[in-house]
Symmetry: C2
Subunit: 465 residues, 2 copies
């Protein structure tokens, strides 16, 4: 039986045809059966291996189908030629992910309290939606489903003062995804001004996309308009509701001045990242800048990930007409990145008033946490707090202390805090200030975190003397 040396095992749980298939593949791959060489006829192989004709036929059929062998009429089956790739000299090791050091308490600005997540209504809506319409399983609108955009449009008008049509909204899987999409709509040579200090994730995104960006300094009201003008940037990326990390809310005067800047030259835009726009503690929320803009120069971006749950990846972007036009021309055939079932769940959640109720509840919850934290922090020696009118983080100034050293000392005790300086690119920022997020903490972890901070501060002050 020419070069076939294998045997099959009738006792194995692997079907005989599959054993035969694997054996022939092995012979060919190992080069014992070369390209062009003839295989035994089905009949002789049956006899040789003591298997049924159908076993051989099935195996030969698969081998033909995959191209390991081919049949020539009246002359039988022949092995096809395979090309050998030398295996990598050493199997390249899988790169390791760098693990973050463990900590007990994290004053992270990215965390969210999900303890008040509306489990019951979400589970109910989610289930209802699966059965609601077979159409929902088919491909949806690339911009997001129209009924969802309509509902969201009404919500944004009422809650955030955003003035737009549902046609201007694009739904996408997260703020990063939408920002990346936006970059593809803006002229390639448009440099982008980022707040300095500012949102590190946005900066990273611009770096990754290889877009030119310029850090522009802030004053007490937000981005410095003269510095913006001087930077030559065509687009300004702003967080007016609660500047990250400085925590101020941009007053309407500065907003209108920046809108004027945008209107003064063709192709200028403002990206309004409505970061923390839903959360404001001592008065009602401040309407978005987008609603003040008569000229169509603002791109408004928001998300459900911070207001509802970080694991829900739904964000939205409102495009002014010229960019909408670029989107429709460039992305006419792309697919949405958000499941339609999830879009419909969210639509019903908003329409039933459940989202509004959830936001009110979260505002109360965060206001209480913020008050607890502020109270505890103000007991620290030389401490003052700012940026606490809104949002999920605040600034703690420790008069004269080295914030990096305090943070290091606290980290040794398992408490992570964030020196303000780490968010600055070129800007000079106070070196005695920490940025503290509180959304993910409880009354207990806030108390314990502040206790550790107090120790760290005391040790640092003692060391300095």
């Amino acid at each position: 039986m020419n070069n076939f040396t294998f045997t099959l095992d009738p006792a194995s749980r692997v079907p005989l045809y599959q054993q035969l298939y694997a054996a022939v593949v092995g012979e060919i791959r190992a080069g014992r059966l070369r390209g062009g060489e003839r295989l035994p006829s089905k009949r002789s192989l049956c006899r040789h291996l003591g298997v049924s004709r159908s076993t051989v036929e099935t195996a030969y059929g698969i081998l033909c189908d995959e191209g390991y062998i081919s049949s020539r009429e009246r002359s039988g089956y022949f092995a096809c030629e395979l090309f050998r790739t030398p295996p990598a000299p050493e199997p390249p090791p899988l790169p390791r992910r760098s693990a973050e050091p463990a900590c007990r308490i994290d004053f992270s600005t990215g965390d969210v309290d999900t303890s008040a997540f509306p489990y019951a209504s979400w589970a109910r809506l989610t289930k209802e939606v699966v059965y609601s319409s077979p159409q929902l399983l088919q491909r949806g609108d690339r911009q997001g489903d129209e009924p969802f955009r309509r509902e969201l449009c009404a919500f944004l008008r009422e809650w955030r003062g955003v003035s737009c049509m549902p046609e201007q909204i694009v739904i996408g899987a997260g703020v990063e995804y939408l920002t990346d999409l936006l970059l593809q709509l803006l002229p390639e040579d448009a440099a982008i001004a980022l707040e300095d200090p500012g949102y590190t994730a946005a900066r990273r995104l611009f770096e990754l996309s290889r877009r030119a960006f310029v850090p522009v300094r802030l004053d007490a009201e937000g981005m410095d308009v003269q510095a913006l003008e001087d930077s030559g940037a065509a687009v300004a990326y702003l967080t007016p509701a609660h500047q990250f990390p400085m925590g101020m809310t941009m007053p309407v005067g500065r907003r209108t001045r920046l809108l004027k800047w945008a209107s003064e030259r063709e192709g200028r835009y403002i990206v309004e990242d409505d970061y923390d726009g839903e959360f404001r503690y001592f008065s009602r929320t401040i309407p978005a800048m987008q609603g003040l803009d008569p000229g169509g120069r603002v791109i408004y971006i928001g998300t459900f990930s911070r207001s509802l749950a970080p694991s829900i990846r739904v964000a939205y972007m409102v495009l002014p007409p010229p960019l909408l036009d670029a989107y429709l021309r460039g992305f006419a055939h792309s697919s949405s990145t958000v499941s339609r079932l999830e879009q419909e769940t969210l639509r019903r959640f908003i329409a039933a008033g459940l989202y509004g109720r959830h936001l009110r509840r979260m505002n109360n919850l965060y206001r209480r946490k913020q008050a607890l934290l502020t109270e505890a922090l103000l007991r620290l020696e030389g401490a003052s707090v700012s940026g606490a009118d809104a949002g999920l983080h605040l600034l703690l100034r420790l008069e004269g202390a080295d914030a990096v050293r305090v943070a290091e000392r606290a980290a040794e005790q398992g408490v992570r805090t964030y020196p303000l300086a780490s968010y600055a690119v070129r800007a000079a920022v106070p070196q005695d200030t920490l940025v503290l997020g509180f959304a993910g903490l409880t009354a207990e972890t806030i108390a314990e975190g502040c206790r550790v901070l107090a120790q760290a501060l005391a040790a640092e002050r003692a060391n300095k003397k």
Copy 2:
């Protein structure tokens, strides 16, 4: 009462403080109250408008908070300066979306049959998952949750012969999203070879990303290796399971030859888009090319959107170690684009064996549709069918007929078909061939569609004589 001319309406449903707020904003925005001008004192305004002190206090509080007015100690409240932006000369019209012409029956290659969607198990799992763990609401792993990747890894090994570790898998919201991500991991100057004729959506993606790409011709087995070599491309984008649109399955000999091409120079890669890899009708599915690759040169990409439902936006990509390294370095801080609740639902769906069962059912369903369609098509004059061993589309050759004209005639009757020529960039392809998808059609629409095609063909043949 200096320049305040408005009155409030106590009968309105809008609270008085809000009417007052809006009125002052209106005065300032209209320029009737200028920056630096003093507002009436709270007391005099109470008297003038006949409202309570708390109404005025609330309104002034909000105005201060938003920055419309500011208070100076012992001298009262002053309007802040707003900047006026000239409104766009004409409100720019919203660009219209180009509507696709209506059709009764669409032989689209992108459609999917969702009639056999596992509603009951999906609804049950979806609901269970909401309650399963509060942790699922928090931010997840950027690559996709580890338990889901582990389950998917085992599934891909068993069903598609993919050989990888869970650490190599990246989950993302659709094949387009992942391909776009992949482009950011490949060297910027690496030109990409695309099959010609090929997948239009992939080409569009490369155009949008401004990456250099080269169309490379096919022969009967798939991408022509010599033409690929000559193209100077470093990366080849392939659909080996069921080439789109030609419909052939790449035999193992060609697969190994392309793998050898990739191994011959540093930085060469093959992107294996496992398009239609789950669907094969006359033998078992053919294992992925990735599993044949000893050198770590294949990026494997697949999706649940075609096997489960287009509206479910979950796809996966298997990265070889050097690209995984680039991913971990560049995207260490990015967020996942897929809801964790959906990931966990899919994980349970696969783990319970429901996905495998669903795929078997869909294979049977599509095999029947394909047989129906083939049978009907072969009754057409001069017709032959190819590319029908696998996947959700096939090629119909109408010997000597002008496929574009036939498609036009059919479209007049509301039946949309796709001339093969429309998928070619530079390649010479038969002008008498149509690409027909059948997944979204029923027995009735297949029959009716073929009837219209027969008429269109007859009219075209008659016209030609």
